[in-house]
Amino acid sequence: MPKIRFRRHFTPLSAALLAATLTLAAAAAGCSSGSDAEKSGGGTLVVQNGLGGSTGLLAIYQKLNQQFESENPGVKVDFVTKSFDDLAATSKLQLSGSNPPDVVQVNRGYQALGAFAKGGLLTDLADYAKQYGWETRQSSSQLQLNRHSKDGKLMGDGPLWGLDATTAWIGLLMNTEVATKLGITAEPKTIQELESQMQTAKAAGEIPMQFGSASGELAAWLLSELLLAQGGPEAVQNLVFHKGDATFTSPTAVFAATTMKSWGDKGFFTPDWTAYKTDQVLANFTSGKGLFTLTSSRFMPLAGTPEETKKFKMVFFPSVSGQGVSAVGAGDIPWTIPAKSKNKDLAAKYIDFVTNEKSAEQFLAGGAIPSKPPADVETAITSANLPAPSQDAVRNGIKLVSDGTPVPYVDWGAPELYPVISSSFDKLMSGSLSVDDFLGQLQNAYGPFVKSLQEG
């Protein structure tokens, strides 16, 4: 009897549990596809960015989205914000899925934009570029960074896959108060001048250059800038675009590595610099310590009131020759249209809207550097009423885009370059790697990758 009671009572219960589980699983699957369909259909444009943390830029985009909505009645922009790392980590899966966003920022590089172009996950923007005149809106060196061959082998070549709305560049931030105290009256025009000014600072007990390698990017920036300083734009472009049999064992690369090492040996960097991340480096510098730091214009405006920050000046990193206007710089993560976007025409209209001259004015007013420079730069800067270092960043950024050559980041040359630069740099500076070994490790991360692409 008890057995019967057991069966009657418990078997239906377990069956019910099983059924409930399956129903839940089915409901979960149903829910997700339902909400996604809702998102991309019916006049809603899903726009996904990787600007998490860039509050200034996001605020400008919010305004632009409202304007886009009012110019296109019935359209709603669903603006999805992710951090840069999250975007890089998830976009591959998203774009391969059947329901990607309509417009999405895609990071450059062979493992991102290149791999997506090869996989047929993005829309070739040629027709839209013709329709909206994008080819003349931005310079060829700007557009080049958003081109990639369809076989994924060549960056800077082939169809246009994306368009960027703003630009960022790498330069020196100089504390003019410290400089005046040291008797330095002008920014350095050559590497030699920079070294002598840093030597002056060192002798006076001031930190010559606020630096930190805990997050890796400053090491990659410094390497790119020094390659550019010695070899000119081509030296970096050839490495990134895999042209002219470029290698990391060239005399230009030896110069860059030797210079970095000598700066470390001479004590030009912050004491204990291996412990500082990029944001801490900038915080240390804006607290008034140090003559120079290496920074990106995307960190503008600096923390502090305009009065507090007016002593800082953002200038170009000097070259060996002191000639030409060039800097490591590129458009922000480009806006692309996934191949499976359901609103391609509207997506293109959105990209056109955020990259046009009217939006450029608003980016500039918010302290960002528009990829499309305004007709009258000085008037725009004056009316924007920006703090002094932001004015430098915008003025020089526009000069770089209009008259100079923005040069890509050298670590775009191969997927493993960034982590290898980041870890080998510390070893070079500590002396556990020689200059040759350091460059050998970079070449190991670069050469076989280039070869594998070419052999395909």
Partner: protein, 310 residues
């Protein structure tokens, strides 16, 4: 109800096995499966399927988009042949020294004191001790980054007491960054170890302590003869949890050092993340993940073996 449950779930002896008994056994098995089904389904969908898929991927070269290419053991060979990957595993074993051995040693000493004496407000003390384990590792990491910064409080204290030579960039120092991360982990896991061990100690009958004292045992003897044997199963649990934490360690490394300076704090799970999401080599990342899983499995089995026999 209880009696019916016991009656129903008791296995039917073989000698009684007739058609009715067999049918009943089948039904009992079905009931068991029914109970297991919800958990099993989720376990299979979210754990087993991805794991076996990773094992398959570890034999492929794959960027996540293009067609997968079978490369056999190539990924495993590259890992074994790379000094960077071997070093990463070695760093994990250093971390086991901190996360497991140091944590256990400190926890046992504290338990030795707490076990034989009555402590007032034990509940509060336990909650306070457990707190570091409850705090998200990311928050722990950020707090310790600040504490161990070159001009942070730890160095300030050292300088204040005249130990200037000891002040250093703890997390940016080639020799000290890994031990520093290890000590942060020890701080984080100590609470968990203590709470588990104290729970074990509280289960030991007080008569045993009294008997030991009557026999003239001192505190050390008492600890070795009564406390330690009384908490051996808790020691096993703590060992498994801390060894696993040391080997899986990602969040703390990501927040505090990102593998640096140089590659002195790189650990396997950090390299898995780097390879999978930034380099885009999912085959190599999967192979690394599979090796890490196997290592954890072997170490867990080795840890539990003596206890099982006992």
């Amino acid at each position: 109800m209880t009696s019916s449950l016991i009656a129903g779930s008791r296995p039917v002896p073989r000698s009684e096995a007739g058609p009715d008994a067999r049918g009943q056994r089948r039904r009992t098995a079905l009931v068991g499966i029914g109970y297991l089904a919800p958990a099993l389904l989720f376990y299979a969908v979210f754990l087993l399927v991805p794991f076996f898929h990773s094992v398959y991927l570890s034999f492929c070269s794959w960027d996540g988009i293009s067609p997968k290419r079978w490369v056999g053991l190539d990924n495993y060979r590259s890992i074994m042949g790379s000094a960077q990957y071997r070093d990463a595993f070695a760093h994990s074993f250093v971390l086991i020294g901190f996360y497991t051995i140091l944590t256990m040693a400190v926890a046992l000493v504290l338990v030795g004191f707490l076990g034989s004496t009555k402590v007032r407000g034990m509940v509060l003390l336990r909650a306070a001790l457990f707190l570091p384990y409850v705090i998200t590792p990311v928050v722990t990491g950020v707090a310790w980054r600040w504490l161990l910064a070159p001009d942070g409080p730890v160095n300030a204290v050292l300088r204040a007491v005249g130990l200037d030579g000891w002040a250093r960039a703890w997390l940016g120092d080639f020799d000290w960054s890994l031990p520093s991360v290890g000590l942060i982990g020890t701080w984080m896991l100590l609470g968990l170890a203590l709470v588990l061990l104290i729970a074990g100690v509280q289960r030991i009958p007080p008569d045993l302590y009294e008997a030991a004292r009557l026999d003239g045992a001192g505190p050390v003897r008492e600890f070795l003869a009564v406390t330690l044997p009384g908490v051996r199963s808790e020691v096993a649990v703590v060992t498994v949890l801390t060894v696993t934490a040391a080997l899986r360690n990602f969040d703390l490394i990501y927040v505090t050092t990102q593998g640096g300076p140089g590659s002195s704090t790189e650990v396997p799970s950090f390299l898995v993340y780097q390879q999978a999401f930034f380099v885009g080599d999912l085959g190599l990342a999967s192979a690394m993940g599979v090796l890490l899983t196997l290592l954890i499995l072997v170490l867990t089995m080795l840890t539990l073996r003596p206890w099982r026999k006992g």
